[in-house]
């Protein structure tokens, strides 16, 4: 059984003036320890896909299952346990890196000593142990991206969802973040990331593109049967 399964998911945004299909019949299955990266141009629906996959937004049609259970029936507990959704941090904040990681734990009722210890472990995991006392404003964009991962990892998720982890990150820091994502998957976590830069696709177990709401990529298990173009055209003509 797949850890995450998107089954024929459609998502649309509509109001008085707009009716736009952002995800169109999207299906995706991710196993434990898999690193999948979805590439797409700006505005293609990548962030929506990730929010739907993380259970933050509900699909209009289709289902999203995490560990075999429909996210629609999970309630609010999912993000705090099995799924970690990684958001960019505002670097204007006056908090230190350690506080950023600790605060959600303290808010959840974890004792100060335990929260501090877990925050230290998470910061160490992402290579930021030496930056624990630094304020967010003192961090580079790459360090801030690592910190946002630490804030998610501190909850021991099984699935990490990351929206454009290397966007705006310096060239020399970029590969370190990608290597970190790879190592998380190698440790058994499932990672679903989006990217506007194709460099983020390197080394992923699954690479996909999102265009006009349609998700495309190499088939996960072997190649699909080859269909002659002529017969495909004939089928269209007959359709």
């Amino acid at each position: 059984m797949s850890l995450l399964e998107l089954d024929a998911v459609t998502k649309r945004y509509r109001d008085d003036q707009l009716d736009r299909i952002v995800l169109r019949d999207v299906s995706l299955q991710l196993d434990g320890g898999e690193l999948a990266v979805v590439w797409g141009v700006r505005g293609c629906g990548r962030s929506t896909l990730l929010r739907v996959a993380a259970g933050i937004e509900a699909p209009d049609a289709g289902a999203v299952r995490f560990d075999g259970r429909d996210l629609a029936s999970h309630g609010d507990g999912v993000l705090g346990s099995g799924i970690g959704y990684c958001q960019r941090l505002s670097q204007g904040s006056a908090e230190t890196a350690q506080e950023v990681v600790m605060l959600p734990l303290l808010a959840a009722g974890v004792a100060l000593t335990g929260a501090r210890s877990r925050a230290h472990d998470a910061l160490e995991r992402v290579g930021l142990a030496a930056c624990a006392a630094l304020r967010l404003s003192a961090l580079t964009t790459g360090e801030a991206a690592r910190l946002s991962l630490a804030r998610v990892l501190v909850h021991d998720p099984r699935l990490v969802v990351v929206d454009d982890p290397i966007q705006g990150v310096d060239l020399l820091e970029r590969d370190g973040i990608l290597a970190l994502l790879r190592s998380l998957a190698d440790d058994g976590l499932t990672v679903l990331a989006s990217a506007t830069e194709s460099t983020a696709l390197s080394g992923a177990d699954r690479t996909l593109t999102l265009s006009a709401g349609e998700l495309r990529g190499p088939p996960p298990h072997g190649l699909a049967p080859v269909v002659a173009l002529r017969s495909a055209g004939a089928r269209r003509a007959g359709a």
Binding site: G40, V41, T199, S202, P218, L229
Partner: protein, 213 residues
């Protein structure tokens, strides 16, 4: 004012053409010969060692038909005065003459490298022209495009993250690996963006054809 294109540094030093260098021969087409010249430029060496280095360096990219292929290639490079024997290395009972690059060899190699850009552009242009033949059947073009996109994604997937920590490359193979990976990663990005553009053009075409029908 538009700045003139920059000339690579190695092209500033025009080698002196020796009088005996015959009338410009036809361009050397063999990729193996050029690749071998690159190895000699990297480090003067003898034939057998060059064959071993060739296999290690160009594994999966270029192949020698046999070790004797190196001897043939070296003969061509010498004939074209792109390499020369290193004095004092043809000694002993089993002489191993080492070869080093000449100034001409260095200059020609640089020009060949720059010429690869034109070759890449020509191949890409050919693909685009071939794809454009499907103007009457944009659906078929979209299917081909999907295959092209999948090939790009597979290549991206197979390109490892270099995984260095900011330190400079410790060896020529490591440097080559890093440069090749980065070139591949960036090129894939350009191709995927291009696929997105073509897809929109083809969909617009399908819409226009539908409206006319």
């Amino acid at each position: 004012m538009i700045a003139p294109p920059r000339t690579p540094a190695f092209l500033y030093t025009t080698p002196v053409m020796p009088a005996e260098r015959e009338v410009q021969a036809a361009p050397m087409q063999s990729q193996v010969n050029w690749a071998l010249l690159g190895l000699v430029i990297e480090r003067p060496s003898y034939a057998y060692e060059l064959a071993r280095r060739f296999e290690r360096t160009y594994e999966g990219v270029l192949a020698l038909s046999s070790v004797s292929h190196v001897y043939t290639a070296l003969a061509v490079l010498r004939e074209r005065e792109l390499i020369e024997e290193l004095p004092g290395t043809r000694v002993g009972r089993q002489p191993k003459p080492h070869y080093q690059a000449t100034a001409n060899g260095l200059a020609d190699y640089g020009q060949w490298l720059v010429g690869q850009v034109d070759e890449d552009l020509r191949r890409q242009r050919l693909f685009v022209l071939a794809l454009a033949r499907f103007i009457r059947d944009p659906h078929a073009a979209l299917e081909i495009l999907a295959g092209y996109e999948q090939a790009c994604l597979t290549e991206a997937q197979n390109t490892p993250v270099p995984g260095h920590d900011g330190a400079c490359a410790a060896s020529a193979p490591e440097l080559a690996e890093r440069l090749a990976a980065e070139e591949s990663r960036l090129a894939i990005g350009a191709k995927l963006t291009w696929v997105e553009y073509v897809r929109r053009e083809l969909n617009a075409l399908i819409e226009a054809q539908g409206a006319r029908a």
